[in-house]
């Protein structure tokens, strides 16, 4: 069997495009968009979420046979919250500036619907290895949306990528101006809307 047809590969690759958590499952748009003004913060946010998602899936899946059904939400929340505290402390220790910029949004990973959603729908019914890969895939799918939005916003909004100016000065001399609108909140909504359109036209049934 080819590697692209194994169950494990599918658990990882499906959420990347075909069932992307943001575009198709419409989960986790919540806390995400505010961090997409710059590529740097978007990437850090994507990585933190992938970490939390993969490990919460792994842990919850290992516990799935011992968690009583009626208190599963509380158990899931405490696992997720613990992982988020870990991620937050690590960011504060090693990437203090970025963690200041992300402010409350790292904490909001707890209530990010993707994490809860994957724990409920996938991790509770699948073995740990598969759940871990599903978490990685969903995290990467989510991260890629963040990076795409941040790329557009940073490039058009401030003419930079990762904080380096990429638009040559001759452009500015010729009358080109940065779109200040891209740095404001409404732009994020509109870019997501347009990306959904693009994604739907590409992945047609």
């Amino acid at each position: 069997m080819k590697i692209t047809q194994t169950q494990h590969f599918k658990a990882f690759s499906e959420p990347l495009i075909k069932s992307n958590p943001v575009f198709i499952q419409m989960l986790g748009i919540c806390s995400a968009l505010a961090v997409t003004v710059q590529l740097k913060t978007a990437i850090v946010m994507g990585l933190s979420l992938t970490f939390v998602l993969a490990f919460s899936n792994l842990i919850i899946s290992m516990l799935r046979k011992v968690i009583p059904r009626n208190i599963r939400m509380i158990v899931e929340l405490s696992v997720i919250a613990t992982l988020v505290i870990l991620a937050d402390e690590v960011l504060r220790a090693f990437l203090y500036d970025i963690s200041k910029q992300l402010s409350v949004f790292v904490g909001l990973i707890i209530t990010n619907c993707i994490v809860m959603g994957r724990a409920e729908t996938f991790a509770l019914g699948n073995p740990p290895g598969l759940s871990f890969l599903d978490g990685l895939g969903n995290g990467a799918g989510y991260g890629s949306v963040l990076v795409a939005v941040a790329f557009i916003r940073e490039l058009l909004g401030s003419g930079k990528l990762f904080g380096f100016s990429v638009i040559p000065n001759s452009f500015y001399n010729a009358g080109y101006e940065n779109m200040g609108f891209m740095l404001l909140a409404p732009a994020a909504f509109i870019i997501i809307g347009l990306l959904v359109w693009l994604q739907k036209s590409i992945v047609k049934e």
């Binding site: 575009f23 419409m26 989960l27 986790g28 748009i29 919540c30 806390s31 995400a32 968009l33 505010a34 939400m73 509380i74 929340l77 405490s78 919250a81 613990t82 988020v84 505290i85 937050d88 402390e89 402010s103 409350v104 904490g107 909001l108 707890i110 209530t111 990010n112 619907c113 809860m116 404001l184 909140a185 409404p186 732009a187 994020a188 909504f189 509109i190 997501i192 809307g193 347009l194 959904v196 359109w197 693009l198 739907k200 036209s201």
Partner: protein, 202 residues
């Protein structure tokens, strides 16, 4: 007084929790399909936010903040890293308690709000408000006003979105844009409208 009023106005319009900080999007997209549910969920969010913001303020300032435990004889203890897990637990407990109280005293209100209450525990807007409150160093009264204002702002956004979506049913939207895509773009336009209030200072 002026300060409170300015926080209130600011949290409804300029710093709208949904349109400026993107919190509570999941339920916003899912519920705004239906007008009645939007109003019900809106009221539930206002209610829960007004209660949880001050309670979390008390817990943070008397138990978790650096030096907050000095009344118990531990002035160096800093438990602020526990704020995420504490806040989410408080929110879950409060939602459960509110649900039981409403069920006991007002069955009519319960039957209209009941279904939405559990959903609220995982609404980012609730946790987000508590976290913003800590970050901005609000006082007790300010945090209460901020909670109420954020709730009203969120409700305003979801109810107007529901109204717009009723109209949208008769619009011919491009195929790939139907549903989620157009909702996002309309929300973007709405956010632009709300930004016009940013010139107002009290």
């Amino acid at each position: 007084m002026e300060n409170l009023l300015s926080i209130f106005i600011n949290s409804i319009f300029v710093g709208n929790i949904l349109l400026a900080y993107f919190l509570g999007m999941c339920s916003f997209v899912a519920i705004s399909r239906n007008m009645d549910s939007s109003i019900g969920l809106g009221f539930a969010v206002v209610f829960v936010l007004t209660i949880t913001a001050p309670i979390n303020w008390l817990i943070y300032n008397y138990l978790l903040a650096p030096g907050a435990l000095s009344w118990a004889g531990f002035p160096e203890v800093d438990l602020s890293f526990l704020k995420f897990i504490t806040f989410i637990a408080v929110i879950a407990v409060m939602v459960q308690a509110v649900e039981m109280v409403i069920d006991r005293f007002s069955p009519a209100l319960y039957s209209s709000l009941g279904v939405f209450l559990p959903l609220i525990a995982v609404n980012c807007a609730i946790l987000g408000t508590s976290l913003f409150m800590v970050e901005r160093n609000y006082s007790f009264l300010e945090s209460m006003v901020f909670g109420f204002g954020s709730g009203v702002g969120w409700m305003l956004a979801i109810v107007s979105m529901a109204a717009i979506r009723i109209k949208l049913r008769y619009a011919s939207v491009p195929k790939g844009l139907e549903g989620f895509g157009i909702t996002m773009i309309v929300t973007g336009l709405m956010a632009m409208g709300f930004m016009l209030f940013s010139g107002i200072t009290l």
